[in-house]
């Protein structure tokens, strides 16, 4: 039986394997060392990334909270040099602009989303791509559009909150469209087909079956779009002009929280800076509540459905 034994050193494959094992073992120490260094660098970068981000949030909270008092939420902004005042006019402006923009863009965006979800042709592809690119267009150029289209062309040179809402709406629209399409495409096909098999028309299927089923995703998308729209500053600078008095009429110039932050941050007066920090905290809280709320709401709705 000894004849079955073969000479291992003659087998080329085994020879190669031994060679590889030798090289790998010889380089193991070096490879482990460089791995440790590189992984260490990754950890260091994580640290470097966390420090400024935490610092921004911490500073805004620490500097902004002292500004929060009754006056801050109930009084309007005052001219520089005069103590006191709040941001009530800016809260009204931001809320009103946000509401108008949302009320108009949600139905339009949702119908566009339905259109995109139900079409696969070249035209739909082009619209989808346009919407994607529009979500990344520099917001100041959309502010220019709001200025040209509404301030100059429609209202003959008058700044207004409506122009601001128009610009903010243009920023929100593609976000809602794409989020809506994604959510609608996520609805299982058999729901669709079951409704059609029962004799429902397409519009009924969309209204009664598809859109309700896609609601968690749609709500998430809408809230994220609102969060993004409320934080925009540049388009508002070119459209709503700012107004230190309380103004409810959206056809007139209005104040908004981002404008207060932007205009007050370069002022030399401590009390105005205080208000800027307070407004920054308020804006950040609103945006974060919308972002977190969208996730929580989506999770809850998702769970209910199961």
């Amino acid at each position: 039986m000894t004849t079955l034994a073969f000479d291992a050193s003659a087998d080329p494959i085994l020879q190669r394997r031994t060679e590889i094992q030798r090289v790998a073992a010889a380089s193991l120490k070096r490879r482990k060392r460089s791995s440790r260094i590189a992984i260490g660098v990754c950890w260091a970068f994580l640290g470097i990334a966390i420090v400024p981000l935490v610092a921004v949030v911490a500073y805004v909270v620490v500097k902004g909270l002292p500004a929060w008092n009754v006056d801050f939420f109930t009084k309007s902004t005052v001219p520089e040099g005069i103590p006191g005042g709040g941001v009530w006019n800016a809260i009204v402006g931001t809320a009103e602009i946000g509401l108008i923009a949302t009320a108009v863009t949600v139905p339009v965006g949702l119908l566009c989303g339905l259109f995109l979800a139900e079409s696969d042709g070249r035209i739909a592809g082009a619209i989808r791509f346009t919407a994607d690119v529009m979500t990344g267009v520099p917001s100041i150029t959309i502010g220019i559009f709001g200025y040209i289209a509404i301030v100059i062309t429609v209202s003959g040179g008058h700044y207004s909150a409506l122009a601001g809402a128009f610009a903010i709406g243009i920023i929100m629209l593609p976000v809602i469209m794409r989020a809506g399409e994604t959510a609608i495409r996520g609805v299982p096909n058999h729901l669709n087909e079951a409704a059609l098999a029962l004799g429902a028309r397409n519009a009924t299927v969309a209204r009664r079956v598809v859109v309700p089923a896609a609601m968690p995703g749609i709500i998430t998308g809408v809230l994220l779009a609102v969060a993004r729209g409320l934080g925009e500053t540049a388009p508002l600078l070119l459209t709503i002009f700012g107004n230190q008095f309380l103004q409810w009429n959206p056809t007139k110039p209005m104040e908004a929280l981002p404008l207060v932050i932007y205009n007050y941050s370069s002022q030399p007066y401590a009390d105005l800076l205080q208000i800027a920090w307070g407004a920054a905290l308020l804006l950040m809280v609103v945006v974060l509540v919308l972002s977190i709320g969208s996730r929580v709401l989506a999770a809850v709705l998702q769970k209910e459905r199961r």
Partner: protein
């Protein structure tokens, strides 16, 4: 599938009493989509038309001329185009390695229990309004840069000539740094997403072959997610190029080409927002022209990013959130 002639009696017909015929439904959807296309068209046409007077009075060369002096009818955009490129470049030099390292750490190194929480936090930070970053940059970071960072960099790297001039805090370097902080969450959220979906079999296969942790990341994970990472970085670049208020607050706003990293400068968006209030006639048209140049650059970068990221961004993941 057409249900226009509903054959069912009674209840089934009642349910569809308010339902539109399919053709009308499709027509409405098409019309609304056409409204969107019309808005985008109006957007492009209005900017081109309003910028046109600047091009017809000044020709095309004003875009690359270096003097911006409205009182003498000089509207060179070169300082602002350079400022836009320089601030974005500073932000990217910092954000690319740090963003990639952070994303790798979040996707593979941080203990499992912390991963979801940290990743969500990063995504939420991407939603913080840019004006808040600007406020922080101007009131907190600028004094720090003036008193510590800039003197230190001048001592260490002064021989390169990049840090000539006085320490002012505000300037190119600070603007680039703020953009870095601002685009970091976007970059990390997208990169983390695409890094995390590299198939486990590949990672495990590499480990089984005796690769070290870093070799797995470097040779398997990063190449596997290459396109998505690139797309995420391009999107972040688009954000940096178009950022207006955060930059306008911290760049110092000078109409001259910066001669060092500490010099005040301006970008296309900051030029527009700072001069818009008082501008009339050719100057206003030139500002619209600056917007048009910015739009062309922004659309180019974004279209590239979308092509790169298109196949990678999974539905409903952080990528789509951060992109939004």
């Amino acid at each position: 599938m057409t249900t226009d002639d509903n054959p069912l009696p009674g209840g089934a017909r009642r349910g569809s009493r308010f339902a539109l015929p399919n053709s009308a439904y499709r027509a409405i959807l098409g019309a609304v989509a056409a409204v969107f296309v019309g808005l985008v068209g109006w957007f492009l046409v209005s900017i081109v038309l309003k910028a046109q007077p600047a091009f017809s009075t000044l020709g095309f060369s004003w875009i690359v001329q270096k003097t911006w002096d409205p009182t003498h009818d000089k509207f060179g955009l070169l300082p602002f185009i350079l400022g836009t490129i320089e601030t974005t470049a500073i932000a990217l030099v910092l954000a690319v390695p740090i963003g990639l390292g952070t994303a790798l750490a979040l996707a593979y190194l941080v203990p499992h229990r912390l991963r979801a929480g940290l990743s969500t936090t990063v995504e939420l930070l991407a939603a913080v309004p840019s004006v808040v970053y600007g406020l922080w940059g101007l009131l907190v970071l600028a004094p720090l840069y003036r008193d510590y960072v800039e003197p230190f960099l001048t001592t260490v790297l002064g021989w390169t000539g990049l840090f000539d001039g006085t320490d002012q805090g505000v300037g190119l370097l600070l603007a680039g740094s703020i953009l870095f902080v601002m685009i970091l969450p976007t970059m990390v959220a997208i990169s983390r997403d695409v890094l995390a979906v590299v198939p486990n079999e590949q990672v495990e296969g590499a480990m089984a072959l005796g690769a070290t942790r870093w070799q797995v990341l470097r040779k398997v994970v990063v190449p596997g997610a290459r396109t998505g990472i690139l797309g995420g970085f391009t999107l972040a670049t688009g954000r940096a190029l178009g950022e207006t208020v955060a930059v306008a607050l911290v760049i110092g706003n000078s109409n001259y080409i910066a001669h060092s990293l500490k010099s005040p400068a301006a970008t296309l968006p900051s030029l527009i927002v700072n001069n818009f209030g008082e501008a009339t006639g050719t100057e206003l048209s030139a500002l619209f022209g600056a917007g048009l140049v910015l739009l062309v650059i922004g659309v180019g970068v974004n279209a590239l990013a979308r092509v790169l990221v298109r196949n990678v961004a999974s539905t409903g993941g952080a990528a789509s959130v951060a992109v939004a």
